[in-house]
Amino acid sequence: MRIESILRQTAKRLGNKTVLIAGDKRLSYAELDDLSDRLAASLWSQGITRGDRVLVFMNNCWEATVAIYAILKAGAVFSPINASTKADKLAYIVENCRARAIITQEKLSAIAVEAIGLNRACELVVARAGDESSHPGTHSFSRMLQVAPPSVLHGGIDVDLAMLIYTSGSTGRPKGVMMSHRNIEAAAASITTYVQNVEDDIILNVLPLAFDYGLYQLFMTIRSGATLVLETSFGFPQAIFDVMRREHVTGFPLVPTMAALILQMRDMEPGFLPDLRYVTNTAAALPPAHIARLRELFPNVRLYSMYGLTECKRCTYLPPEQLEHRPGSVGIAIPNTEAFVVDDEGRAVEPGTVGELVIRGPHVMQGYWEDAEATGRMLRPGPNPWEKVLYTGDLFSMDREGYLYFVGRKDDIIKTRGEKVAPKEVEAVLHACEGIAEAVVVGVSDPVLGQAIRAIVVLSNPALTDREIIRYCAKNLEDFMVPKSVEFRASLPKTDTGKVSRRLAAEPQES
């Protein structure tokens, strides 16, 4: 089934029910359905049609949810873009997927205008700009909601693409992960099954909608007929907890950094969120000490350890009753999917042996947008001749009962604050910084971030300071990609072929 059809069905059944709470704004299912119909009709009348790519470059706000469903209702493909993305990278994405439009908000519109540049094929829609947008040639989001909606007949089916979600690429350029409607619905159905989502659920989401973990909270909410409370930041956890108590929140998705922040608080009493039914954690396994403390703070709450990657959304979950017995495991394959560990020849390995995790199921992506080579590395022939399976690039082992344990990455990808960062993407920016002769980027262990990004540089201008380098990065990279520390060296270690060795650079220096 197509994703927008699920909204339509739920809206018919539960029209007056609140689907979304974002700050002071509350939307019912009927309102979300109607507003997205209107925006879809306006996009359609602007020439957006089946299969076109439209970027949603917004913070977590109600307009972003309307935009996502409107794009799907127009038969088009949405691509959620992190709000801290800078113009250069946005321009790359616009060009890479030949975006037909960007839907954004006033404070990001200057970046969007810069990214579009002279690309006349790409339109700009600006939300919350008042009736007249400040940039000539752009469309006002609120005006586009004023049209009476004739229904759009795009003719799309559920194997069409629904979403392109860009992920940090090991080549230094982001790659667009292609997810069909069927992929998204399969993943959402599987997750809502094991999390046991029900209509009475009220889910609190502070994770960016541009991050698939945050985005799927929306899809899971709507397919369950539940309610989503959308917040923009976990900067003030107490303020979020107040919202959670006021709205009687039952579901709380976390990343390890948020768990670490909660556990650093000093005055929390067990049961301080009385309506909470489940907590999920993904991106990296929680340290056992954190799990123990979370269980104390959240008695009677089902705590899920999970693991996944954007290319299939989610791979595994640990049934909460197993948490005590196997706190280091990220569990078993999610319902209606398979996960197995293979050696370099693709043969399943014995329990306890480390190999690459392979995923099979209806949630596996269609590939990377117009990148057959990268797609071929990830999607490879599997046990059956009629299908490809997903090679995750993650090293795992499995115990005798079939539970999986994350061991490490096969490549250099850094996981920080729950997001993946390819060192090359950061290095490309460092190499463009005047005064830096050579640079290499590594991940160093950090109690709150999981891994923190460290830049190791050789200067051509000795006057350049670490602050100046970090500031330069902050102007050119999304927030989570900016190095936390800079280390200066006289030279970088090289391999026999003369390439800078990231592995050798990461080893501690002898003093």
Binding site: A83, S84, T232, S233, F234, G235, F236, P237, Q238, A239, T257, M258, L261, Q264, M265, R266, D267, M268, V448, L449, R467, E468, I470, R471, A474, D479
Partner: protein
């Protein structure tokens, strides 16, 4: 005293969150979170800085936007805490 405090807090924010970039618009009333100047780990660093520099103890329940989301609210909060601590002493 508050204006002195504001200068000190502003200097900390510029140095640590804007990496010395003084061109970034930063009024006393600018929301630090809404303008993406600090994130969740940044708030913790701010709390540690306030506790160490001004010898105050920040309770979890005080880590809220009305106390810490702008230079002026931070300055007023720190001023009220230090006065309170002096009167207790």
């Amino acid at each position: 005293m508050t204006s002195n405090l504001k200068t000190q807090i502003r200097a900390f924010i510029i140095e640590n969150y804007l990496f010395g970039d003084t061109s970034h618009p930063l009024d006393d009333a600018t929301s630090l979170i809404e303008n993406d100047i600090i994130d969740s780990t940044g708030v913790l660093e701010l709390v540690t800085y306030l506790e160490d520099t001004f010898q105050i103890s920040v309770h979890d329940s005080e880590i809220v936007p009305s106390n810490l989301d702008s230079i002026s609210s931070i300055a007023s909060y720190v001023a009220s805490k230090t006065i309170l601590q002096q009167s207790v002493a």
